[in-house]
């Protein structure tokens, strides 16, 4: 019995063959005979047509599932498209704006790191300097909230900078990438003037939420509406398919003026989630860190056994910030003795900041000042909307 098909790849000792009926099968290499090796045909790419009369938007891509495709080497989905491919895949984008595209990197978001945040901040800054009326950053969703927060602190922007991704890969007909990308373009051309994340607002394809970058969190591993504003409602929404943008009173609006880039950061910072019985040797291992954010229990506590270790770190010049693993609500270390002890040794209350936002902020703050007092004051101050003056009702 002989079958013919196209060899697609060799993986894990098996040859993967696409049969003429479209099915792939894996067979032992010894069972295969090569018939011919056809020239790889160059893909025909449609030209990307743009209307210069529309607002100018920059698309900066970092990779991620908004633009990903199967990798035959591993059989898994990886990000491979550049921004041009995004326009090709989503033609309706061309009716909203005209785009310049720039690729900062092409990575899955779990491989993101602070030095790429800096490159990204530069890319966004340059785009705005060059006249972009809005910027879209395509990003993998896993660490998108971290990057968005980082850009928030590093760049004071007069125009919208919209982070967007997709939870379900772009190679599926049901992908959320089309609606998210169109909504991000609508938000990027709207009166908004801050860094935001635009993603599905519900499991349906009916609206996208515009989240403030420093208040948003990925709250579900796979759902389309995984991103949620924490402690506040979204700052706006984009209807679908009409793409009407409505902004909340809280949203910072578009301004004239130049962007301000302050991209220095201190990478020697860490985030630690406390758990019952966590030995004091663990924070000890962060000796040498200039900053430490703790996601403490409840109102912001760690075991009393930690006090000496933390005191030592602070005396060595590090800034230690307390947040809560509750995710909702504000830290208060004045209620119980353990908390008061923490305040006495100089731990900074992180108010209602999300732990990971506090980490990114601490990196940035320590990039701006080496003075412990000043750093503490900046950590307590609301700089980009990351701290709410009043706590919201409910969860």
């Amino acid at each position: 019995m002989e079958l013919t098909g196209t060899c697609i790849t060799e993986r894990d000792g098996m040859i993967v063959i696409k049969l003429d009926n479209g099915y792939n099968i894996g067979v032992d290499p010894s069972a295969c005979r090569w018939l011919e090796r056809p020239e790889a045909a160059a893909p025909r790419l449609a030209e990307v047509l743009q209307d210069p009369a529309l607002p100018g938007i920059a698309i900066i891509s970092t990779g991620g599932t908004i633009a990903s495709r199967i990798d035959y080497r591993t059989g898994a989905v990886t990000s491979q498209f550049n921004a041009d491919d995004i326009l090709r895949a989503i033609p309706r984008l061309a009716a909203i704006a005209h785009y310049r595209t720039h690729q900062v990197c092409n990575i899955l978001s779990e491989n993101m790191n602070p030095s790429i945040w800096q490159e990204l901040a530069h890319g966004v800054y340059d785009a705005i300097k060059n006249g972009a009326e809005g910027v879209i950053v395509t990003h993998g969703t896993d660490t998108m909230a971290y990057s968005a927060a980082a850009i928030s602190f590093m760049l004071d922007t007069p125009v919208p900078v919209i982070f967007v991704g997709s939870q379900r890969s772009a190679d599926r007909p049901s992908s959320d990438n089309v609606m998210n990308a169109l909504s991000s373009a609508a938000a990027a051309t709207s009166p908004l003037g801050e860094v935001a994340v635009v993603m599905h607002g519900s499991p349906s394809d009916d609206w996208c939420a515009i989240h403030r970058a420093v208040r948003v969190r990925k709250m579900h591993t796979s759902r389309r509406d995984a991103f949620q504003s924490m402690g506040m409602p979204p700052i706006g929404r984009v209807g679908y398919p009409d793409l009407d943008v409505s902004l909340d009173m809280e949203a910072r609006l578009r301004r004239t003026g130049e962007p301000l880039l302050q991209d220095r950061i201190e990478e020697r910072c860490a985030l630690l989630q406390f758990y019952p019985g966590m030995p004091p040797s663990l924070p000890d291992a962060f000796d040498g860190c200039r900053g430490l954010v703790i996601a403490g229990t409840g109102l912001g506590h760690v075991s009393t056994t930690w006090t000496p270790v933390l005191r030592g770190m602070i005396e060595d010049g590090a800034t230690v910030v307390m947040t809560s693993q509750c995710m909702h609500g504000r830290v208060c270390d004045r209620v119980y003795d353990t908390g008061r002890d923490l305040l006495k040794i100089g731990v900074v209350e992180g108010e209602d900041m999300l732990p990971e936002v506090a980490l990114v902020k601490l990196m940035w703050v320590l990039g701006q000042t080496r003075d412990q007092e000043e750093a503490a004051a900046m950590m307590r101050a609301d700089l980009r909307g990351e701290i709410r003056r009043c706590s919201a009702h409910g969860l």
Partner: protein
């Protein structure tokens, strides 16, 4: 229509694809039960849009492309028995091994060769029936054989699609139920052969006892072509006895299309590619549809006069095909002049239409009334389908209508609709596992065995073997119930009770077995079985039901009762003698209300009557 056709001379080639749901505990890619629900039990709803994506080779499937012409919003019903995987809001779990083994077992029964490493694929389907926009499917085995000389090309393991619950609504309970798809080569040459092959494969599937039973759990697609015609795939034939009819009607359709082609060519017919705007022509029309429509467009088919209205299948005309194509653009239908004047369109209007398009009597004009964009799209569809009439039969996927005729559904999909399912790891089928799979005995073999060894009447034996209650039948016989009693109870009594509205599906197999054993052991009369089962179906435990129905009539009681009845009717018996037995029997059976076996009553009655008549003798 003439069904006595020489199919060989026509060059009929047909193959079938059988889709059979598997009766696994969990779905193919999640842990949800394979349970069908009522639509009104749904607990949630969401809505999505789908769009065509490229295959990994960079092509877009033509069938998917056609679905894309309309941006359609689909609504989905969720249940407390479905999860985020059905919602396409969570990656699939690893492939269900119970389902894979069931599929492999079928492959083994068909003498197929398993695939060394199975790769799950995504088959693009964007009609809304899959939340993801694709159906997951994997080729499991190839190259088998069924009956004499008919090759099985492939066996695939797939996930079932969602059930349509309304115009654009789908119900997610069915989505993800494992399904085997068996595809034969186009090796059948008559409608009867196609039906036989479908029946035979169905029997093999049921022999595994791991498939679901009942309406909708097995569906057949039929591939048909005749010489000079084209391959047409007819989807979703649910009733086996319609298969042959579907094949016959498709042969007729293709023949008619070929005849029409020849006639068109003789007439030198052609299709005018111009789409005429005739909206103003119908500004004063009495036709509500035309009056309401923002745009009325017309297409002139030169030399098509009379042929568009010609019947090509029972209740289907060539024009019906054009209408199917036009509906792809979202229009409700079309008018053509072969059927006019009618529908409120007057002869005068038709005349001025012909004048306007400079058409003559030999022509046919198609009218489309809709929003401008939809109407233009539909006009292009009509032009392309009408032009194809000059070539013959288009390759298509069609769907079966109720009576066995078919309607256009979409173009035949190509290999470009397949894309690897990157979220599911490939599975190796090793030789050891393949060899360890036990091939079950065929139901046809069981039937012979029941006739030979158990002495059942051959047709009853076949009925038992092919029934859903085969398993409980075998248990009962093993436990000592007489085969005839078991067969009659399981096939006859239960069916009658169901027809009577008794919820027999509430009776557990174990309860059925207890009931039959009670009858076999004489604790209840066989006549009492219907009544007993009726009680058990309401949820009463078997033991309680037995004591309720069988108000223990002892032989002495029975004798006394019989005596009493005889004395009451002494004159009647004296007059008739033993001939009165039948009538008296009826009276007594009514009295004991089935709690005593008829044979027992009969023998007691016989004895007592004899002695009664003896005593009465002078």
């Amino acid at each position: 229509m003439d069904y006595d056709m020489d199919y060989e001379a026509l060059g009929l080639k047909a193959g079938i694809e059988i889709h059979q749901q598997l009766d696994t505990r969990e779905k193919l890619f999640c842990k949800c039960p394979t349970l069908l629900r009522d639509f009104d039990e749904h607990t949630g709803e969401f809505q999505r849009y789908l769009r065509a994506t490229e295959s990994e080779m960079g092509e877009i499937d033509r069938a998917a492309q056609e679905e894309m012409w309309q941006m359609r919003r689909f609504r989905y019903y969720t249940y407390d028995t479905t999860c985020l995987v059905e919602n396409d809001d969570e990656p699939p779990a690893p492939m269900n091994r119970e389902a894979l083994d069931a599929a492999l077992t079928v492959a083994k029964m068909l003498g197929m060769t398993p695939i060394r490493q199975v790769h799950m694929m995504r088959k693009l389907v964007i009609d809304g029936s899959n939340t993801s926009g694709f159906q997951r499917t994997a080729l499991i085995a190839i190259n088998g054989q069924v009956m004499e000389g008919c090759r099985i090309d492939t066996l695939c393991l797939e996930e079932e699609a969602a059930q349509r619950a309304g115009d654009s609504a789908f119900s997610l309970d069915r989505l993800g139920i494992p399904l085997v798809e068996i595809t034969t080569a186009p090796c059948m040459h008559t409608p009867a052969e196609v039906q036989q092959a479908a029946e035979h494969i169905g029997m093999i599937l049921r022999s595994t006892r791991s498939v679901k039973r009942g309406l909708g759990t097995i569906r057949q697609d039929v591939n048909i072509s005749i010489r000079g015609g084209a391959r047409v795939e007819i989807k979703g034939v649910q009733e086996l006895n319609l298969i042959a009819e579907v094949v016959r009607r498709e042969v007729i359709r293709q023949q008619h299309l070929l005849t029409i082609r020849d006639e068109l060519n003789t007439r030198n017919a052609s299709v005018d590619e111009t789409v005429h705007d005739v909206t103003s022509l119908f500004s004063g029309t009495g036709s509500a549809i035309l009056k309401r429509a923002p745009a009325v467009l017309a297409v002139r088919l030169r030399g098509y006069g009379g042929l568009v209205g010609r019947e090509i299948q029972p209740r289907r005309r060539l024009g019906s095909e054009y209408a199917d194509y036009a509906r792809k653009c979202g229009v409700g239908g079309i008018f053509h002049t072969d059927e006019l004047p009618a529908y409120g369109i007057t002869a005068d209007e038709v005349r001025s239409l012909f004048e306007h398009l400079q058409a003559d009597d030999g022509d046919c004009i198609v009218i489309i009334a809709a929003g401008r964009e939809k109407a233009e799209c539909a006009a292009r569809q009509v032009i392309s389908r009408a032009a194809y009439a000059l070539e013959g039969v288009p390759e298509e996927t069609r769907r079966m209508l109720e009576d066995g005729s078919t309607a256009y559904m979409r173009p035949l999909p190509g290999a470009a609709r397949m894309y690897p399912e990157t979220d599911v790891l490939p599975v190796i089928i090793d030789t050891e596992h393949w060899e360890s799979l036990v091939v079950p005995e065929l139901l046809s073999g069981k039937a012979e065995q029941f006739a030979d060894r158990l002495g059942l009447d051959p047709s009853l034996a076949r009925q038992v073997a092919f029934s859903e209650r085969l398993m409980i039948f075998e248990c009962a016989v093993d436990a000592g119930v007489k085969p005839n009693l078991a067969a009659r109870t399981l096939l006859g009594t239960l069916t009658e009770l169901r027809r009577d509205g008794v919820q027999v599906e509430n009776i557990a197999d174990d309860a059925l077995l207890q009931v039959m054993l009670a009858a076999e052991g004489g604790r209840v009369a066989k006549e009492a079985l219907p009544e007993l089962l009726r009680v058990v179906a309401t949820g009463v435990p078997v033991e309680d039901a037995v004591s309720q129905t069988a108000t223990a009539v002892t032989t002495d009681d029975l004798r006394a009762m019989v005596r009493h009845v005889l004395e009451d009717r002494a004159d009647f018996i004296r007059g008739r003698g033993m001939a009165a037995l039948g009538a008296i029997m009826g009276v007594i059976m009514k009295e004991v209300r089935g709690s005593v076996d008829g044979e027992v009553v009969s023998s007691v009655l016989r004895e007592e009557m004899r002695s009664f008549l003896e005593e009465e003798k002078p």
